[in-house]
Symmetry: C2
Subunit: 330 residues, 2 copies
């Protein structure tokens, strides 16, 4: 059997995660890595696979060495440019995660993919991605209900960066943690209206510069608008060694819970709850992206083109295995 050839665009944590996932999928192989750094400085895990400058992708490779390109850049600066640009030339999968701008991203990617008769899948991580799928399925089946998503416990990169910008802070890590009370209520079948600060609490681990004012830093953190204001935030000052030892993993977790009512008078309770837990967020996302790369490849091979999200794609298309094996999962 011909394997699906994967190209990875961007070799950071997520790119590495995709590389690991490709290795786990027996119907896939890594064909190339594309980087905006000097390719000669990029060492990858897979042997005998070339690293190219991302420039070679720009105007469409004459004969692409891959079937699907998995775009592993950031959602702020990279993907809004890359995915629409490359969707014209290549089947492509991204994990664009700006929920508010996803519809706009879709339109641009869809236009390019249709033009080039390619298949693109956007927002194919765990949130957006698998959680979005669950939100849709649960909402479709149980109209008398409410979706609640809780993230964590896990590191929020954006919040960590925000803390790092405070004067006197040398390094910082911010964990987002679901608020016990909120989870308990929702899981118990209640459908409360929750402010952001009631759903999650925040915990910061900070390495301060020598001689820095701890109280000043703490105050700046807990009162930071948009990021911490309105949340219960714990701030711990730790040493550089402790930061390195205890806070360098990329584990994460999340819950999508839909309490609902069924019955003639809506008097029965029903609960749909998806929980995800992962030691490595980028490896986990990489796995999901590979499954959707398979779907993109198949859909395009069948003559489809344009942009898709997770809820536009039948789950069976993501699964490697025969129809018979699929039925074995019924």
């Amino acid at each position: 059997m011909e394997k699906i050839k994967i190209g990875i665009l961007g070799y950071g944590n997520l790119g590495k995660g995709v590389e690991c996932a490709v290795k786990q999928n027996e119907d896939m192989e890594l064909a190339a890595v594309f980087t905006r750094r000097n390719p000669q400085t990029v060492k990858i895990l897979t042997s005998n696979v070339p690293v190219f400058s991302a420039d070679v992708l720009d105007d469409g490779m004459k004969r692409p060495v891959f079937d699907v390109l998995i775009a592993c850049g950031g959602s702020a600066a990279d993907l809004p440019q890359q995915t629409p640009r490359y969707a014209e030339y290549y089947n492509i999968v991204d994990s664009y995660d700006n929920h508010n701008k996803a519809a706009e991203h879709f339109v641009r990617v869809d236009r390019a993919a249709r033009l080039g008769k390619k298949l693109a899948v956007i927002c194919a991580g765990w949130d957006p991605g698998i959680f979005s799928l669950s939100r849709v399925i649960a909402a479709a089946a149980f109209p008398q209900g409410e979706n609640y998503t809780f993230w964590g416990s896990g590191v929020s990169q954006g919040h960590s960066d925000a803390v790092r910008k405070i004067e006197g802070v040398k390094d910082a890590r911010q964990y987002t943690i679901p608020a016990d009370e909120a989870v308990r209520m929702v899981r118990g079948g209640h459908m409360p209206v929750l402010e952001a600060g009631q759903k999650h609490v925040r915990e910061c681990f900070v390495v301060a510069e020598e001689g820095a004012d701890y109280e000043k830093i703490r105050n700046e953190i807990v009162n930071m608008p948009d990021y911490f204001q309105g949340y219960t935030t714990a701030v711990h000052f730790i040493s550089e060694e402790e930061m390195k030892e205890k806070h360098s993993t990329l584990h994460h977790a999340g819950m999508m819970i839909r309490p609902a009512r069924t019955g003639w008078e809506n008097s029965s309770n029903a609960l749909y709850e998806l929980r995800l837990r992962m030691d490595s967020n980028p490896e986990f996302c990489g796995c999901i992206m590979c499954a959707y790369a398979r779907a993109a490849f198949r859909l395009n091979s069948e003559g489809h083109s344009g942009c898709r999200t997770v809820f536009d794609i039948p789950a069976g298309k993501t699964f490697y295995g025969s129809r018979r094996e699929l039925f074995g999962m019924l």
Copy 2:
């Protein structure tokens, strides 16, 4: 907007559950109920909706009063006949639950539906159904893992019936309960090979005939091949009043858990866990069937025909709401 007209075939617990679900979906309305009993003896909850003899469906109604027929019969005797028969004439949804024969059922339904250019969805409950979907998604994304499904705590009709057939038993209810130790292991990331009896324990509540031999009944239960042998089974003798008071609800629950490994050397843990909990199993199933009735209607309206399972259908097709609302769930 024109509502989707639903026909219900079979008005037992599940038929009633579908009726309740139709009421919850603002884009649907109940058009008719079809029964094999004398229609005049069947009183339904919805006012001004006719109850017909199921016979009128047999050779295809000239102008069906509904868009989608939801078949609510049993999987042993009813659905293997009904779904293939009616799929030729009507869009149809069933919750056929014999996992081993589903592929065969699919082939027969598919042939009929293609012939009549109709759209059929089979196995559209929670297991098979939403759990199957989760098994496929989780397996597709995380190839280095294992799916474990736990049912309960909830009543198993088949096991209750088996106990009822024992001499001296007047009434019985059997609960299937996930074995704590097995759930703990799997949730902890282990992938044990589990015998059936290690995954679930069984608990029976029995009303005995006057003068019956309790020990003899208990022995017959716990040693019954296929049903109880190899399981840890608790047997409680209770009064008819207690049975009626405490064991007449149709609540159920289940978990589909996939522990998996990610990373270059498979050294990171990942966990996918879907939990469902419901006060009323038939109402819960009815809700899911309505969502797939919506998908069947839409797919057929777009010109598709043949049989589908939950993993052949994009989740977005089950969701009532605009594309914009869908994106709101990303």
